[in-house]
């Protein structure tokens, strides 16, 4: 092989390398352009709203354009209400679960938990919404008392199970084996839920002759709608739990072992260590997990569409429904004529969703980075 031929061959190899590098960089540029395009297109559609004050009214006319409809404010309110009830449900469950999984669960079980959580995160939101709206909402409507009894009863049975195990004679200590307590817990939670259902039905039969709806109406002035904020909280909570759980579990596990070892060597118990040392140390990570859950709840569409009832009401009552920005866009945009004012207002709703989730995600990321830097 002559020198020239070798040189050309090397050149071709270099060229290929260079070209592919440029191509990959182009991929990166395209990514940046994509996210910019999302902003640009939406801004392009909504900017006339700000030019003509007549069209910018914070409200959407109905699809027929005649009735003035409802404003966009109830929709913002609805979105926030849904997200808040979601967090009320999801944060205690997922943070407690993450604390338990990271601090107390044996490693083998923890490995089994991961795919489970992943599958849970993969459940499509249309599935969750459908089951929530069609099955859970009517079920809860006929078991309202059980819903409120359940947390107390489940806590009660879990504690009973604990006491039974703790004071049981040694030969029953099969449950003492690490990991086996999980099954005892499972039985306890099931029993608590079942007891709550039964007692709820009994209570309702015994005290509320006319049904809980009238009772709520008369004594508290609340109307019970079947599709309400509690159901949204539970179902969307289920959708958000994997996110909050995974990130907080990560944060809790990332706390250096020396922290808890130091604490325990000073005489603190396992629980004290977990709550007073590990939890605060991972606080920023958990905060960022909660923020990410919040932003997911704001953008979630199919669940609120099915479960919230889609009535543009403005009250914080747990028993009434609402209409969220996302559900409103999904319901009305297919019928909106292009460049109509309804079309622009719906794009404005999407813009609000985009900007708020964007901002929350950035804050969450910053919080998380700070944590990472601290323990790096």
């Amino acid at each position: 092989m002559t020198d020239r031929a070798r040189g050309r061959r090397i050149d071709r190899r270099r060229l290929l390398d260079l070209l592919f590098g440029r191509l990959a960089a182009l991929g990166g540029i395209a990514l940046i352009l994509t996210i910019l395009a999302v902003f640009a297109v939406i801004l392009w559609v909504i900017y006339p709203l700000f030019l003509s004050p007549a069209e910018y009214r914070w409200d959407t006319p109905g699809p027929d354009g005649i009735e003035s409809g409802y404003g966009i404010l109830p929709l913002i309110f609805g979105t926030l209400k849904g997200a808040v009830y979601t967090l009320l449900f999801a944060v205690p469950v997922s943070v407690l679960a993450a604390l338990y999984a990271s601090q107390f669960l044996p490693r083998s079980l923890k490995e089994n938990l991961k795919p489970l959580v992943e599958i849970m995160a993969a459940v499509p939101s249309v599935v969750l919404g459908f089951i929530g709206g069609i099955w859970l909402a009517p079920f809860l409507a006929s078991h309202v008392f059980a819903l409120f009894l359940a947390p107390v009863f489940i806590a009660g049975t879990v504690l009973t199970a604990f006491l039974v195990r703790h004071h049981a004679p040694v030969r029953f200590l099969v449950f003492n084996h690490p990991g086996r307590e999980f099954w005892l817990l499972l039985a306890a939670v099931l029993a608590g839920g079942w007891l709550a259902l039964e007692c709820g039905a009994l209570l309702e039969a015994a005290y509320l002759h006319a049904g809980y709806e009238t009772w709520l109406e008369e004594s508290l002035g609340l109307t019970y709608e079947e599709r309400n904020a509690i159901v949204v909280g539970m179902v969307m909570g289920l959708a958000v739990t994997p996110i909050i759980f995974t990130i907080s579990e990560e944060a809790l596990s990332a706390v250096p072992r020396s922290f808890s070892e130091g604490s325990m060597s000073l005489g603190a118990s396992r629980w004290q260590t977990a709550i007073r040392i590990v939890l605060p140390a991972a606080g920023a990570g958990i905060l960022s997990a909660v923020l990410l859950g919040f932003s997911r709840a704001i953008g979630e569409t199919m669940i609120v569409l099915f479960v919230s009832g889609n009535v543009p009401a403005m009250d914080w009552s747990a028993f009434s429904g609402f209409r969220a920005l996302s559900a409103n866009v999904a319901l009305e945009l297919p019928n909106a004529a292009r460049d109509d004012s309804l079309y622009r207002v719906l794009f404005f709703a999407a813009f609000l969703l985009l900007v708020s989730t964007f901002a929350i995600n950035i804050v969450a990321e910053l919080v998380r980075r700070r944590l990472r830097r601290r323990y790096a």
């Binding site: 407690l96 459940v123 709206g133 985009l354």
Partner: protein, 475 residues
């Protein structure tokens, strides 16, 4: 030490309760879907309820609930009422009727009761009365009509097109109705079925659910066009998202030099992952459908204007929208794979004089191939379950045409299409219609969930295999 430690452990147990509760709720969710989704095809017995005012209702019990009633003297009592599926939509538009249990004086399960599945419209329950061939009655009574139907009245299939064959069905209270055989999908006698015929019936129904087109506004029939549409869209999407995503991941991990630009790309990936799905739909409508579609129409289909060709929702725009949505999924999966490749491999390849591209192509890509596959599977699973953006960008509840068929140019990118997830929304969310379509929605939910869970399980399996591979390979 005793009491303090026990209080402590009790609190630990309580936190464990949170974990168990979460797991249980997921298990409950799956259980509800499986139970409700599977029972659609099981031939249920038809019961005849005779009421004490002389009325007769034929159907099967859908639910039973207690009603608190207070009589004139203020005494309370619990009564039960039954919700009966009647298969008589002419009289009960909802398909269902409530019966107070106290009104029922007699119930029996008549062997000769039949279910007639119609091509259009819902199921009919009743009794076979006669078989009419061009105006003449050729069979009378259950036994004869059923025998004739079953043995296939001389070449039923061919005849039903030429002559007006019909069946007279009498309802529970004796009202006759004539159904043309051309409108009959299938007739069966649930009450006379043995366990074995029931199982065969179940299998046949499940099979036709998967492969038949929908009937009766999606309440009956199958979901084949929806599954097909989902698959077509997902394939189209993968063609776009895979090269793009893999390239971007290569840039992020292999080619990009640390600096502001790499940071900007990373921020772009993170923000793309955080954009709500509905916003992608809005973007797809504003950009793909109206902007790009409008340009395409003006350039290539001016003869069809003002009617839109690409300037309306369609499968191409939906798949492009979902490609953006699933891009971060692919990037993250491939990046994870790239991160797991031992740097020694790369260094060895460089040391032997290979360029970066050669190293990537010959050494790294073969190793991360399973990760790329994982990314593909996860993005497909994500796309199959996402509905909100599609509602805006061109999915429809019912479409007679498939996006791919035998007609030139075979692949119709501009067509609206059916999607399994949207099928659930359409059948499950019909305010004001009652429950006629719900059992369909449950079954489709089960199907979609099964697909998504299977895909995710495959991805998880692949990934853990990859991980094990490397943990074994490491010294």
């Amino acid at each position: 030490m005793g009491s303090k430690w026990s209080k402590d452990d009790a609190l630990i147990w309580l936190s464990g309760g949170g974990l168990v509760l979460g797991c249980l709720m997921v298990a409950g969710l799956f259980l509800v879907i499986v139970v409700h989704g599977l029972d659609r095809f099981w031939p249920q017995d038809l019961t005849r309820y005779t009421l004490h005012d002389g009325g007769v209702v034929l159907g099967h019990e859908a639910s039973r609930e207690d009603v608190l009633t207070t009589n004139a003297r203020g005494e309370r009592s619990v009564a039960y009422r039954l919700r009966i599926r009647t298969g008589d939509r002419d009289r009960y538009p909802d398909d269902y009727v409530w019966l107070e249990e106290g009104r029922v004086t007699w119930r029996d399960v008549p062997r000769e009761a039949v279910v007639v599945e119609q091509v259009r419209g819902g199921d009919l329950f009743g009794f076979l009365d006669s078989f009419v061939d061009d105006g003449t009655v050729v069979a009378l009574g259950y036994d004869d009509v059923w025998a004739l139907y079953q043995e296939g009245y001389p070449e039923l299939e061919r005849l039903r097109r030429q002559r007006s064959l019909s069946i007279v069905l009498s309802s529970a209270d004796g009202r006759p109705s004539t159904i043309s055989l051309a409108d009959v999908q299938r007739i069966y006698t649930p009450n006379a079925m043995t366990a074995w015929t029931r199982i065969r019936h179940y299998m046949a129904s499940a099979w036709s659910y998967l492969w038949a087109p929908p009937r009766d506004e999606n309440r009956q029939g199958g979901v084949f066009p929806a599954v097909f549409g989902t698959a077509a869209m997902v394939i189209l999407m993968s063609v776009v998202v895979m090269p793009f995503g893999v390239l971007a991941a290569f840039y992020l991990r292999e080619y990009g030099k640390p600096g502001p630009f790499l940071n900007a790309v990373r921020i772009a990936v993170n923000s793309l992952a955080g954009v709500p799905s509905i916003v992608f739909g809005v973007f797809g409508l504003g950009f793909f459908v109206y902007f790009v579609g409008g340009i395409l129409d003006r350039q290539f289909f001016p003869e069809a204007l003002p009617g839109p060709t690409f300037g309306r929702g369609g499968i191409l725009w939906c798949s492009l929208t979902l490609a953006l949505l699933t891009l971060p999924v692919v990037i993250v999966a491939v990046e994870e794979g790239l991160a797991a490749v031992p740097s020694g491999l790369r260094e060895a390849s460089h040391a032997l004089g290979a360029t970066r591209f050669e190293t990537l192509w010959r050494v790294v890509v073969p190793v991360v191939l399973p990760s790329i596959l994982t990314g593909l599977i996860l993005s497909v699973a994500r796309a199959a379950g996402t509905v909100a953006p599609l509602m805006i960008a061109g999915v429809v509840a019912f479409s007679a045409d498939l996006p791919v068929d035998g007609e030139w140019p075979f692949v119709h990118l501009d067509r609206e299409f059916m999607h399994l997830g949207f099928h659930i929304f359409d059948t499950g969310f019909r305010p004001g219609e009652g429950d006629a379509a719900l059992s369909m929605a449950y079954t489709s939910t089960l199907l979609l969930l099964a697909i998504v869970v299977a895909l995710n399980a495959a991805a998880i399996g692949l990934r853990s295999r990859l991980r094990r591979h490397y943990s074994l390979a490491a010294p």
